[in-house]
């Protein structure tokens, strides 16, 4: 069964058209990530799913029911925010219990669900603390716990890791992935970070300027981007874009090559001058100049390359992508 269906969803704030004709299906149990640059409408899309914003036109279906007229608390969803949004006047236990109390659940049910969530997130020691007495990572776990206790049909995450530092971000990311496996719940996760998207998602939806650019599994999008935007957005370091006339004379198209698909090759077609070398131990990233265009090369292992050196590069077979002037992929 589909857990969430968006049909021709449009959203405008006054004259500003933020979401443009969005069509997305999410299957039950799926982990779907909406990814796109800041300001592309990810949060707005999530808020329309939650019912915090009305759609201007189109239909939102959750678990088969049209919920356009249903208030947020009745949609069977739970949401985790970037800023945690814990209730400052309630301790951890009551923060988690509030939604259940509002829904008039019995005392035993509430107790049981809070205990279950605090066990999953190891929050047992903090139940009587107030949000101001917790660290950022703990606050975010409480926010996730507040979502879990509701046993929602659909989890919504709005950039939940953006306010955490790098190490904590990675741990919490794993924790969310584990949670998804344990609960088998449907999750919709919004982020501007392509690494989070690639590592967590069963299915990625790439958004730009309020439009869906491409939908697919992480590897589908990585190997088979339909346009230059998707190709450049996923992958780190990002794909290199060069005028295709470097390879074939007179071509008006753009050539895309991923940094790892380039290799040192004395007979290769690209001639570059290195500008900067990043030695990472396991990898070496070479940033070079190719006829006035910057190009990044990712070499496996350690290489003794210096800045200012002249190199020739070859492209792995079948790994060049071509895009027309509008950015569409040419097969």
């Amino acid at each position: 069964m589909t857990a969430l269906t968006l049909t021709n969803v449009n959203k405008s704030f006054g004259n500003v058209h933020v979401l443009k004709d969005i069509n997305i299906e999410v299957e039950e149990g799926e982990f779907v990530v909406f990814v796109g640059p800041s300001g592309c409408g990810k949060s707005t899309l999530l808020r329309t799913i939650a019912g915090l914003e009305d759609v201007t036109s189109g239909e939102v279906c959750i678990a088969g029911d049209v919920v356009n007229q249903t208030p947020p608390s009745k949609r069977g969803i739970a949401m985790v925010f970037q800023s945690y949004a814990l209730y400052p006047h309630l301790n951890v236990r009551n923060n988690m219990a509030l939604a259940l109390k509002q829904a008039k659940e019995s005392k035993e049910t509430i107790e049981e669900r809070v205990a279950e969530a605090s066990r999953m997130l190891s929050l047992g020691d903090y139940l009587n603390r107030f949000p101001s007495e917790l660290s950022g990572g703990q606050r975010q776990r409480v926010a996730i716990g507040r979502a879990i206790v509701r046993h929602p049909k659909l989890f919504l995450f709005d950039e939940p890791l953006s306010n955490l530092d790098a190490a904590l971000r990675m741990n919490t990311r794993l924790e969310i992935a584990n949670l998804h496996d344990q609960l088998g719940a449907t999750m919709v996760y919004v982020t501007h970070d392509q690494t989070e998207a690639m590592t967590l998602a069963d299915k990625i939806v790439v958004l730009r300027d309020g439009r869906v650019e491409q939908i697919g599994s992480p590897m589908e999008l990585y190997n088979n981007p339909t346009n230059q935007f998707v190709a450049g957005f996923l992958g780190s370091p990002a794909m290199n874009f060069l005028p295709a006339n470097l390879l074939e004379d007179g071509s008006p198209n753009t050539l895309g090559v991923r940094p790892e698909d380039l290799a040192l090759d004395d007979a290769g077609p690209l001639e570059v001058t290195t500008k900067h070398v990043e030695q990472l131990g396991g990898d070496t990233n070479v940033i070079a100049d190719c006829h006035g265009h910057q190009i990044t090369v990712r070499l496996f292992g350690q290489h003794a390359i210096n800045a200012g050196q002249h190199l020739r590069l070859g492209i792995a077979d079948g790994k060049s992508y071509f895009f027309d002037a509008q950015g569409n992929r040419l097969s």
Partner: protein
Amino acid sequence: MNSARSNPISTVAMHGVLILYTLIALFPVFVILINSFKTRKKIFREPLALPDAESFSLVGYQTVLKQGDFFLYFQNSFIVTVGSLTLILLFGAMAAFALSEYRFRGNMIMGLYLALGIMIPIRIGTVAILDMMVSTGLVNTLWALILVYTAQGLPLAVFILSEFMRQVSDDLKSAGRIDGLSEYTIFFKLVLPLVRPAMATVAVFNMIPIWNDLWFPLILAPAEETKTLTLGSQVFIGQFVTDWNAVLSALSMAILPVLVLYVIFSRQLIRGITSGAVK
């Protein structure tokens, strides 16, 4: 302040200026207080001298307590001030919440309309207000004063509070809506506690002009049983003779309740500031 960064000269200068300002501000209050305990002759001979065994006298306080119904005036002032502040804060905060939280047609116009009162003094409408009070039968009731002061205080309250409410996290309100809280619960439980410092500011700004006002009590509620303290004290100021002992004693006593209210609100102010700092 960080002791490594503070320079002794600037610290001394800073404290010097603040102490000087405090002295200037408190001087009139001090003069009123000491003179309220002196005989009439000494008030005029040596206005700046402290009361001593010879000049000490409680005649002013005796007059005040005997004359008229001083405690009733006191009570009236208190009811009017607290009642007006309550209504200003309640309705001001509610209007501010609506203006800052909900998108509706005319939101902007409504905000401007409510802010208009900041620029137009309410006393311009005194005659119309008196007319209105007469026809509704509210003349010579405390309600007349409470309603007028509420109207007078609302524009600035709405203006200040809506500015602060815009800064309250959207995510917090959204979380409340998803958890099924009503808009009233979101307003009273989530938003109001976070704008408490602004509420205290509004309260302090409104309290003193209301307590001290002479104009509206004189026009709308001059009857004996609705006189406020400020109006009540006027009986001692005559066209030809003024009972300075009584005036000074009445003023001294009038300071106290304002002081108490101020301490209550400033506690809130400070608590709000520090709770924000450790967030």
